[in-house]
């Protein structure tokens, strides 16, 4: 029988069959028992046994680590100048630290896993409760969960202690939404609320294979009863209790496990997001390649010269320095190769291992400052900023395009019911008398009013057409009877709450849902009951929602509310006009408008709808589409009653923030799903558009609806293109100053027009129009995209992201509909808003309010960028001047790969002597005060376009490093022309030579950093002077002992002896000074130049700050000379 029922359907691999309580039904025996995984959550990566090999493998997959491993192996295998320890130790250090960190994190995960896996759960077996460990749950087990417990796996909700078969859960730990959600038990099993009863249930569940979407689930349950036909019921997300959610306000529930362990939706959601890489990292890689080339060419030069030099046998093997037998016997080619490798090893320090460690540490530690910032703490939600990834800190300082959502981001998303219109009559302000809905005071009487019955219908619609729940505080207090003062409304949409509250003001109070009956108290204080038959849920595609209710008298009513664009086509056309006027005017005022419509259904119609809906709900495949189809058919031929206007207030300081972002050279695009008029007025309110801004519109209005709309669109595009791009070059001559006259343009485009451009019907020449559109967009100072579907938002971001020069994009939003653009942009920012936590969860950074963007970008972003850019440049610089003397020394030691410095110095240079000062700098530096940065947005442009990591500054640092390397080496070289440097005539050897160079080196690079430091906290003092002191101390110590484990005691008393020579002291001081002199000179010269450039106050109009005013660049430096150059920032 059952097989006949599903005869039409193929058995798909995409579904799983779960036998409830493992009581097999004869019919299902035919199915091969599917194997499911156990309920163990394994979020850990490693076990004790595989930790070492697996972790090492993962670490050496990183290109840098692999490179250092190769160098190390070369040192072990080939006879190289430096012992393998010199590169092995840092590598070992890095690998160990990372392994410990990852091991610790994994241990934490193990512990968390164990906590979950070993927690006790109660399973109903043979009508008895059995206590088990959570990990022992198998698919098909019936699990009992009590109040405030979390669900141990994904359960199909069978029965609960409450009679109506509902329970409340909170998914705070899953998606951060703390409101209670109602879930429904399968209708036919709600009665089975004891262990015995539930154990008697014989049923199978068919559902889809696990998938990560938390809000999607399709399945059906087939219940077998003795001597009856099996009943099939559809299952949806409302029947599924997710692992990780918590049961609330319900004593206990029974559920059957369908997904366990790693197949639960929670576990599936833990799989990481795609990695975003910052632009700085790309720069680092580019520089690495340059340095790799330097390294290779140095090694090649040395190898070549070595063999040229050795071609003279007197040089190759003088009598005093004979080769070993082995050396003589090696083939020349092999010898050359090992020589090349040896040189590579000798110079490999030019690519620093420690830079990666320092960069990682800087990012990790630095990101704490964002979450610690109390200015980004919001008193209302009691939360501060959240950093989900520390990889993108510096990207915050490079943003060129800001894509922002409107609702909840620019606005508060705390809705307030402002007014409504019923049949074209406007109602504003609340009515004091319960029975005097129409008795208005003041100006209201001028509006006229609608019929009483229509008013009531409208208000009932507001009271019924929603998914608002009542959180009854009185339950806690044990008080009943005054629900109106004890309840709070909970809904996923703030609009609905505003509407319900609005209706309450007019005398219709929603009292809650009880046993499928919605209760409302009307103006006469009577309680009306409506049986809730169906909710056609809201979705962003339809942009409306409906309910079907049955009145006490048996009348069947459908109420629908939604955006005007989605309601108007579905109502009687003659009703539209009078309401439309109000809707348009409200939209102009920046209110969010919703239209309300209704229709009466006959029993026959209802039966049909009911059947269709149930069928669609029952469908295992394409349920969404089928549902949409039914909804579409159902919500038709309605009657328009009226419209509502809800105000969404602007968030505090959002206008100032947008102004600041503009001034900082960023382009702000608003992407919203809202109506054009509403969005436009919000844009004016938050000063995205100025009164002087000329608006270009590409909307349904301007393009029209006709057949020729595509042609019309193309005409418009060309026209705008002409206006913006082709006409501008006239001004080019006087460009620098002419911007004051140039016009600001703003573009408005809506979703349907956008899809017309991006997905045109005919393919010919379409990409050309896409290009034109993009050019227009980039020329406009502000762009507003309204009526956007979530995916379109992401499309826009992707389009801009992929333009020439790949500008850094930032998306900010608060709702689930912004997730796609948050994930798409270089930097995704979530607002910890009222629409749940999905955006914040998927973002890279989350802030409580839009205004916090200002400090996040202008201060934090700017500082992080400057810090890390300086860190990177400094690292390359200090290793260049570290290795260059060693390279030069080869010319004086017969290209024999003799290291200039002792092995200890080679190893410790990057780890100990010069690492902490730059780390402290990169964490604490504020070259400009945070307050100045926040208050003067134009400073942001100083570092735009990755200014500090361009080739010019890189070359500057490289030349500086090369210059200093030359000074170090040749300074000491000339010093050593002396027969003796000591006053007792004794002579120094090669190790003293190296130590002098090294001392000068350590002091110079540290003092260079000191020169660059603009913000000396005690920590900077401590690490800078401490590092130098440590170097001196270490050198004494290292040379002060005969180390038994060393083969050679080369450094014995070398440092101490060096310091007994006055000449050496004088030389060291002189060389340090010479090395730093050009830098100091440059700063002074710049300083003087800047002063000369300052020619009186010169205010920039805000929007001119855009870097690209027209085809030719207005170089930012020119534009911001005025304010920015006051601050002596070293771009170099």
């Amino acid at each position: 029988m059952w097989s006949a029922w599903c005869a039409g359907e193929e058995k798909r691999v995409g579904t799983r069959t779960v036998v409830v309580g493992h009581r097999t039904v004869s019919e299902t025996d035919a199915y091969v028992a599917q194997k499911f995984c156990d309920n163990r959550i394994v979020s850990s990566k490693y076990t004790i046994w595989n930790f070492l090999p697996k972790n090492l493998f993962e670490q050496f997959r990183r290109i840098a680590n692999f490179y250092f491993l190769i160098i190390f192996l070369v040192q072990v295998i080939v006879d190289t100048p430096t012992s393998p320890i010199t590169s092995g130790l840092p590598l070992f250090f890095v690998i160990t630290v990372t392994a410990i960190k990852q091991g610790y994190e994994d241990w934490l995960r193990h512990r968390a896993d164990n906590e979950v896996n070993k927690s006790t759960v109660f399973i109903v077996e043979n009508a008895k409760q059995v206590q088990k460990e959570s990990e022992k749950i198998k698919v098909g087990d019936i699990v009992e969960v009590k109040a405030d417990e979390t669900f141990p796996c994904d359960l199909i909700f069978l029965a609960s202690s409450s009679v109506d078969g509902t329970c409340y859960v909170t998914t705070a730990s899953l998606d951060g939404e703390s409101n209670f959600k109602t879930h429904y038990a399968v209708r036919d099993t709600t009665v089975l609320c004891t262990d015995e009863a539930i154990d008697a249930l014989t049923a199978t569940i068919e559902c889809e294979q696990p998938q990560p979407d938390l809000y999607k689930f399709v399945g059906r349950i087939i219940i077998y009863r003795s001597n009856q036909e099996p009943i099939a019921r559809s299952l949806g997300p409302e029947n599924l209790l997710l692992k990780g959610a918590t049961l609330k306000n319900t004593k206990k529930i029974y559920g059957v496990a369908v997904y366990t362990g790693m197949e639960t939706k929670m576990a599936l959601n833990y799989q990481g997001k795609s990695q975003k890489r910052s632009a700085v990292e790309k720069s680092i890689n580019a520089f690495l390649i340059v340095y790799l080339c330097i390294l290779l060419s140095k090694a090649t030069v040395c190898t070549t010269l070595k063999y040229v030099w050795q071609s003279n046998p007197r040089n190759d093997e003088p009598w005093y320095n004979e080769k070993t037998k082995k050396e003589r016997e090696t083939f020349k080619v092999l010898r050359m190769f090992t020589d090349f490798l040896s040189f590579m090893v000798l110079f490999n320090f030019i690519i620093p291992v420690s830079m990666y460690v320092t960069v990682e540490m800087q990012k990790f530690l630095g990101s704490f400052f964002i979450s610690w910032d109390k200015e980004m703490y919001d008193e209302e939600i009691k939360e501060g900023a959240l950093v989900n990834t520390s990889d993108l800190n510096e990207e915050l300082g490079q943003v060129e395009f800001v894509f922002t959502d409107k609702t909840g981001t620019l606005t508060e998303n705390s809705m307030e019911f402002i007014e409504c219109c019923i049949d074209g009559h406007k109602y504003k302000d609340c009515i004091s008398e319960v029975d005097g809905f129409s008795q208005t005071d003041g100006p209201l009487k001028y509006y006229g009013k609608a019929e009483k019955s229509r008013e009531e219908l409208f208000l009932r619609a507001l009271c019924l057409c929603h998914t608002v729940q009542i959180k009854e505080a009185d339950q806690v207090d044990g008080l009943i009877g005054h629900p109106e003062c004890k309840h709070t409304y909970i809904s996923s949409s703030p609009d609905e709450i505003a509407l319900v509250k609005g209706a309450e003001k007019y005398g219709f109070t929603f009292l809650g849902l009880e046993n499928d009956f919605m209760k409302i108290r009307n103006q006469k204080n009577e309680t009306e009951m409506y049986q809730l038959l169906h909710i056609l849920n809201f979705d962003p595609v339809r942009r409306r929602m409906s309910v079907i209710v049955r009145t006490i008298t048996g009348k069947l009513l459908l109420f629908c509310k939604g955006a005007d664009s989605s309601i108007f086509p579905r109502v009687q056309q003659e009703e539209i006009q009078q309401t439309k006027v109000h809707v348009d005017r409200n939209a102009m005022d920046g209110y969010r408008t919703l239209c309300v419509a209704f229709k009466e259904l006959t029993q026959k119609e209802y039966d049909k709808i009911d059947r269709q809906l149930n069928e669609a709900k029952m469908a295992l495949q394409d349920r969404e589409e089928k549902m949409a189809k039914v909804f579409e058919d159902t919500e038709a031929d309605m009657h328009l009653i009226g419209a509502t206007a809800v105000e969404d207030r602007l968030q505090e300081q959002s206008a100032e923030t947008i102004e600041a972002l503009h001034a900082a050279g960023m382009k702000v695009w608003v992407l919203t799903g809202d109506k054009m008029e509403t969005a436009k007025s919000t844009c004016y309110a938050c000063r995205l558009f100025q009164t002087s801004t000329e608006l270009l519109e590409l909307t349904v209005k301007t393009v029209g609806e006709s057949e020729r709309k595509e042609d019309r669109l193309h005409e418009l595009l060309l026209e705008y293109h002409k206006k913006l791009i082709q006409d501008v070059p006239k001004h080019r001559s006087g460009l620098k100053r002419s911007w004051t006259l140039s016009q600001d343009y703003g573009l408005i485009i809506d979703g349907s027009t956008l899809s017309l451009i991006l997905n045109p019907s005919q393919d010919s020449s379409s990409s050309n129009y896409k290009n034109i559109f993009l050019q227009i967009c980039l020329k406009c100072t502000a762009v507003l995209c309204c009526r956007m579907a979530p995916l379109q938002k992401a499309q826009i971001v992707r389009m801009v992201k992929n333009t020439k020069g790949s500008p850094i994009t930032l998306s900010i939003g608060d709702g689930a509909n912004d997730v796609s653009m948050i994930l798409e942009a270089h930097v995704g920012i979530g607002i910890k808003g009222k629409e749940g936590r999905q955006a914040a969860r998927n973002s890279d950074y989350a802030v409580p309010k839009f205004k916090h963007l200002r400090k996040l970008l202008l201060a934090h972003g700017h500082l992080y960028y400057v810090r890390i850019a300086h860190l990177v440049q400094y690292f390359f610089y200090k290793n260049l001047c570290f290795i260059l003397p060693q390279f030069l020394y080869q010319f004086f030691c017969g290209f024999s790969q003799q290291p200039l410095y002792d092995a200890a110095y080679l190893t410790m240079y990057n780890i100990c002597f010069t690492s902490l000062p730059i780390l402290a700098y990169s964490l604490l530096e504020q070259h400009i005060n945070i307050d100045t940065l926040t208050s003067d947005p134009q400073l942001y442009m100083k570092v735009s376009d990755n200014a500090m990591l361009q080739w010019r500054p890189f070359l500057y640092w490289t030349f500086l490093g090369a210059f200093e390397g030359l000074v170090f080496f040749f300074g000491v070289y000339f010093l050593f022309q002396n027969s003796s440097l000591e006053d007792n005539g004794k002579v120094f050897g090669n190790w003293t030579f190296g130590t002098i160079v090294f001392t000068v080196l350590v002091f110079t690079v540290t003092l260079k950093l000191a020169l660059d430091t603009r913000f000396w906290t005690w920590m900077n003092h401590f690490v800078i002077w401490g590092s130098l002191a440590f170097y001196v101390f270490f050198s004494f110590f290292w040379g002060g002992v005969i180390w038994p484990f060393l083969k050679q005691q080369r450094m014995y008393f070398v440092f101490a002896h060096m310091l007994t020579s006055v000449s050496t002291w004088l030389a060291i001081i002189l060389l340090i000074f010479i090395s730093l002199f050009p830098e100091i000179l440059l700063i002074v010269l710049k300083n003087i130049k800047e002063k000369n450039h300052q020619t009186g106050p010169f205010d920039l109009p805000m929007l001119v700050s855009y870097k690209r005013i027209e085809n030719g660049y207005v170089k930012t430096e020119d534009a911001v000379t005025n304010s920015a150059e006051r601050y002596p920032l070293r771009i170099l």
């Binding site: 003088p318 030691c893 900077n1020 300083n1087």
Partner: protein, 299 residues
């Protein structure tokens, strides 16, 4: 709620120096004014090293001799030289090919020891056809720490070096074994100062090493009076094969070491440049900088 500490809010009290013309230019002057006298002092001192009035130091110099060649530098066994008995009989592999000779371990092993400079230099003053030898002191030419700590003879019964070096053989190029380098016990074996000086490898292929000291006898006469001298060299050390040259240098030493004009000139040059730039920039600064005096740094 985030802690309101100065560190977490990035508001630690900080010194915020700014290098401006106003602060740097005076520093240039000061540095110039310090460096120039130092340079002149060094230069004068360096140039005065000539009159052989105080102690005179006798150096030998070699050129084109790569004591800093890697193969050469590492060809030694410091633990053998430190008196370790096991290393004495089993020298380090690094000493190859100067590790053993005819199956006997070489002491001291390695290329450096093997190529020790072994010319003998003697200085005579010729006074009316009489040759008076000048006393050349051979002790006090090595670093104190080398002589007393780093270099040790092998230990054993008694002080008989011959017995202590039993079982080893001399370096191939040496005419006599290490325990016959000198007649004095505290300058023989590994702690022979000529040997220690040689073992400190030079930094550059042209180098000098301290050979002997000539002490000033009394304050009335210069150490080496003006007159005729003859230098007698026992020529053992071949340098022709590697295009090398040998030199003998006599020098007095000042507080800053031997004669070397480099440091003095460098100081004078740098000091002058500093001073000069200070003046030039100050002029520029005052001429143009005054145009806008309100350009204060807001930090």
């Amino acid at each position: 709620k985030p802690d309101n500490t100065a560190f977490k809010q990035q508001r630690l009290p900080a010194w915020q120096p700014i290098l401006t013309a106003g602060t740097v230019l005076p520093a240039f002057f000061v540095i110039g004014l310090i460096f120039i006298p130092i340079g002149i002092g060094i230069f004068v001192t360096s140039n005065n090293i000539r009159e052989y009035e105080s102690n005179v130091f006798m150096y030998y110099g070699l050129s084109n001799f790569y004591q800093n060649h890697r193969r050469y530098v590492k060809s030694r066994d410091d633990s053998q030289l430190n008196g370790d008995n096991s290393s004495l009989l089993n020298p380090s592999k690094e000493c190859e090919p100067y590790r053993t000779n005819e199956d006997k371990p070489i002491a001291p092993c390695g290329a450096i020891a093997n190529s020790m400079f072994n010319d003998t230099l003697e200085l005579y003053r010729i006074d009316n056809d009489t040759r008076t030898p000048i006393t050349l002191i051979k002790k006090g030419i090595a670093w104190w720490t080398d002589k007393n700590v780093k270099f040790r003879n092998p230990t054993g019964d008694g002080n008989n070096l011959t017995a202590l070096f039993q079982g080893t053989t001399k370096p191939v190029n040496w005419p006599k074994p290490v325990y016959m380098l000198d007649s004095e016990l505290d300058n023989n074996g590994f702690i022979n100062e000529d040997f220690i000086v040689w073992m400190r490898t030079a930094a550059l292929p042209t180098f000098r090493k301290l050979y002997r000291l000539i002490e000033r006898k009394n304050n009335l006469q210069p150490t080496l009076q003006a007159g005729k001298y003859s230098l007698e060299i026992t020529y053992n050390y071949p340098v022709y094969s590697f295009d090398g040259r040998k030199r003998m240098i006599l020098s007095t030493i000042s507080w800053m070491g031997g004669k070397n004009p480099f440091l003095g000139i460098a100081y004078i040059t740098v000091g002058s440049i500093c001073f000069f730039l200070g003046v030039v920039l100050l002029i520029i600064h005052h001429k143009y900088g005054n145009r806008n005096t309100s350009a204060d740094i807001p930090n």
